[in-house]
Amino acid sequence: MATALNQIRLSVRGLVVRRGGRTIVEVPALDVADGEVLAIIGPNGAGKSTLLLHLAMLERPTAGELRFDGEPVRGHALALRRRTAVVFQEPLLLDRTVLSNVETGMRLRGVGRGERRARAERWLTRFGVGALAERSSRTLSGGEAQRVSLARAFALEPELLLLDEPFSALDAPTRAALTEDFAAVLAESRRTVVLVTHDHDEAARLADRVAVMIDGRLRQIGAPATVFGAPGDAGVAAFVGVENVVPAVFVSRADGLFTVSAAGHLIETVTETHGEFRDALVCLRPEDISIAPAGHDWSDSARNRIPGTVRRIVPSGADARVEIDCGFTLTARITRRSVDDLGLAPGSAVVATFKATAVHLIRRS
């Protein structure tokens, strides 16, 4: 976890990227601390990759300043680039042997021949492709090529490692295996890393901090638990998988328990939101909602209970998503077995239940 004591490795101030009269990225301030893993997540087209290219000093911004170790990047981009490494979504290997691919960057940075060979072999082995060293890069599978690309980046021993969706072009089993290896390498080598991804699991798994980028702006930065559990606004909530965002109004506050009203239903929450507000958004993850048949005998008083009617049941893998009409729509994610056990069908009268701690309130101004 990054602390205030840590040195700032990379800092961004007033970054603006405009293309064709459109502002693609606007980041007033962003600091990457030494040794932290920062994940930038967001929907497609949010500007994540563009931001990464600027952090990698590969493109010049329309406005703004980038500092690497406190040193302004402008005018020193080449020298500072030689202290970083980038892994793209595609492996982007040169038409040479695997070994030569891994050594090329080190050669450009003036690493001696013996050291080059040793580092290349060490990192190829570490990523499980040591046996492929003499192979031509054109003969590799997608997974192998991406392993070589990662080895090439780590062999540079960069002070800052930037990755742009490094696993997203791979099939699911390959991705899982490679993410596993990557996580292990990260854990043992404590590098400063910026990882762009649209995969929440990847971000939650690998990152110390998560930044959510929507429409070119960083809408929230924080620990994964905060970003995924307590999104800062409705856009972030929608992106991080909080599918239920329901407008509500403030009713009362007592003993740390807030009560709000949504379409006439009272909802209790223990959110950390402080201060005065009238309008709020109730955020609920589908997996935090369970379903009981109407007329169930209740002993668990800590739960919110909202009656409604099943509108639709959509299978999703081993689970099903059940849309319940409660005056507003609540989507619950339960196992398909539960759907069968409860005998749910469109039109069934049910009660949606969820804990007060599962509710996250966003103030609406």
Partner: protein, 255 residues
Amino acid sequence: MDLIGNGLKEAFRLLLHNDGDVYEIALRSVYVSGVATALSLILGIGLGATLAFRQFRGRFVALTLVNTGMGLPPVVVGLVIAILLWRSGPFGGLGWIYTTRAMIIAQIVIATPVITGFTAAALASLQPRLRLQVYALGASRLQMLWILLQEVRLPLLAAIMAGFGAAISEVGASVMVGGNISGHTRVLTGAVLLEQSRGNFGAALALGIILLAMMIAVNALFTWVQLGVRRDRQRADRTADAGQALPLVQPWLQR
């Protein structure tokens, strides 16, 4: 048919006895076109890389000009260069008109667009992000270009062949700016032109055959290099297959 037979006979005779300084003329052809191609290569790679990588105002115009330039009429090139180098022209003071230098310049103008076009097309066919990746590895602009040129080494060899072919086979410009002066600026194409105009079809044909033979020799050399690159690739691929088979065999070998 007699004409062709006599032409072949004449060619052998010329080569055997070095009549009409045929070796000198052939060597001058190779020298002028070789130097022109080498200089065009430097210019063409620079321009081709600019066209492939840079977004700039007038890129459409530049591309159109290059594409037109790939089929530039040598007579027009010769005329313009002759005007520029003419004793009373803007660069007349150099005294280059009717020298091999003037011919080299004319052939550079003819070969550069060809090499530019090939280079631009080859570099543009690479993945756009490859360039960013090479920069990210720590390459300066020149190092990036050098690494990417190695990626397109096969089409680049084709560019050299096409550029050299355009330069050495061109006649109009060379004669106009070189003057086709015997022992001074006469090259094979000019010699063919002269012999034909004198009615010496045998000698003209002989020189034509020599020109063709030289072009075949040069192209054979570059094709051999091209195939060598391809052969190395195939060998690397075969090693790959063998490498995959190895784990099955090795444990038994080790015992």
